[in-house]
């Protein structure tokens, strides 16, 4: 099973890279993207990049963007290019196809986010270090790894569900864009509609909770949602159903 998942994952990665032109150009493009995102903001922020939770917040949204750019293609792309039925006609178990595609998207978003973060750290040290070694606190480093992984999994799960139900990549991407905007504006409106006292209490609770417990709660919540999405995907991913869709 692990070998099957890896086979699907590596095929997906190869396609992600070539999606941006040639294999070498594609890899270079991804590194430039990670470098730009990873370097510009940290250099602007200086030492506060490592001292404040900004890097953790950044490590949550970056994989969302990265995974969103590829997840629509996962099933809808195969369906649109008429490769899905052939893939389903192979010996690969359902779970290997599903987990292989999810692992590819999550791995892509997570790895690039970590690379971007490390490049940011390097840039901050080069520009603002002045002989000192600027590093994240261990808990902050753990938080970056945690939220970027779980954020990537969240986007891959939700995006995978949308992609499974879409006939074309364009349709999947449109649906995903609408969903993201819905969540964003929903949160914004929800926060604005919240009574000021509640909002203050929420802020105090977050600030007062301490970094460790907060990361634990966020991790648990995201992990639960990720598992729920994976279960939904596993239920939805049925060969006969996909053939007839």
């Amino acid at each position: 099973m692990i070998a099957d998942i890896w086979t699907v994952t590596t095929k997906e990665w190869r396609e992600y890279v070539i999606l941006r032109g040639s294999a070498r150009g594609g890899l270079l493009g991804l590194l430039v993207f990670a470098g730009f995102i990873g370097v510009v903001m940290p250099v602007e922020l200086g030492a506060s990049w490592v001292d404040t939770p900004i890097a953790i917040v950044s490590a949550f949204w970056l994989p969302l963007v990265l995974v969103l750019s590829v997840i629509g293609d996962s099933f809808a792309g195969e369906r649109e290019r008429h490769t899905l039925e052939t893939l389903l006609a192979t010996r690969l178990p359902d779970r290997a196809i599903l987990l292989g595609k999810m692992a590819a998207a999550v791995g892509y978003g997570w790895a690039l986010t970590l690379i971007a973060t490390l490049l940011g750290l390097l840039a901050v040290n080069l520009v603002h270090g002045h002989g000192r070694l600027l590093l994240f606190r261990p808990l902050a480093g753990l938080g970056i790894a945690e939220v970027s992984l779980l954020g990537a999994a969240l986007t891959a799960g939700a995006g995978g569900l949308v992609s499974l139900r879409s006939a074309t990549v364009r349709e999947a991407q449109q649906r995903l864009s609408i969903a993201v905007m819905g969540v964003f504006f929903g949160l914004l409106i929800g926060l604005q509609a919240m009574p000021r006292a509640w909002l203050n209490r929420l802020g105090e609770a977050i600030l007062g909770a301490g970094e460790g417990p907060l990361l634990l709660v966020v991790g648990l919540l995201l992990g639960l949602v990720d598992v729920a999405l994976l279960v939904a995907l596993a239920i939805r991913f049925r060969r006969a159903r996909l053939i007839l869709d």
Binding site: E15, I18, H82, T86, L87, A89, R91, R239, A240, I243
Partner: protein, 320 residues
Amino acid sequence: MGDVGEYDSTMGDVAIRAEHLSREFHGVRAVDDLSFEVPVGIVFGFLGPNGSGKTTTIRLLLGLLEPSVGEAAVLGHDVRREAEAIRLRAGALLEYPGLYDRLTAEANLDFYGRIWHMPANDRRTRIRALLTQFGLWERRDERIGGWSRGMRQKLGIARALMHRPALVFLDEPTAGLDPIAAAALVEDLEALVAGEGVTIFLTTHNLHEAEKLCRRVGVIRSGHLLAVGTTEDLVRSTSGSRVEVIGRGFCERTLHLLEARPEVAGLGLRNGSLWIDLRDDAAVAPLVSLMVGAGVAIEEVRRERASLEEAFISLMEREV
């Protein structure tokens, strides 16, 4: 279903056995009560017009769809319970070649080789052999997005054969190809069957191709299997037997004498020669004796054989 040719049980193992196989979609039977057998090591042609149920049958046999009614065993595995075992030993070129445009020809085949857990060395050897056989080796490093349909189709067949399957399903492999590319592909398939001994389940519209390639054929229309057997059986069962007699001296009296014979279904003169339609594939010798006795100078007697295409059309015109 009319089985026009008895399956010869001495032909060896059976690759596919379907019994009363049916599949319904929203109350409509796309495939209805199919029963047939495909022996190991032959090309079996599954012929029928568009929408007749050919692709649904392949999907059922690959375990991609579950039958509504009936049973089928492919390579000894039940399509309901052992679909993964079937797909482990079978290859398929479905309606589309199923290739990744962004990957090179070699990367496409390598991916499918890895799916079947082929070791790296074996994959390399197999890829080289297949691409060479299909005349694509020189272009192995090209991404296939810009390839012609014929080249993609060839690569699709190579993909289906990559893991050396015991059985290959080919859904209209020459559809959309120009006649030269189609003929070349048919030759490649013949070479493959001879060289690798695989069983091929082939659906096609091209009856010349089927006649050339297939040892046995099944004819399907609107989900019903109209006939199954060897191409000769099919032709014989649908076209009867016509005899052409070339000679001199076909007078009115001779024609009346022949018409009176019970085995003669019809006759007529055409360009100076006589044609006779025989009932039930009857013997010609007594008629030849009769004509010689009546003073006809016979130069040549030959049985006319209808083509598979004529047999197919004849079947299509029959009521289900």
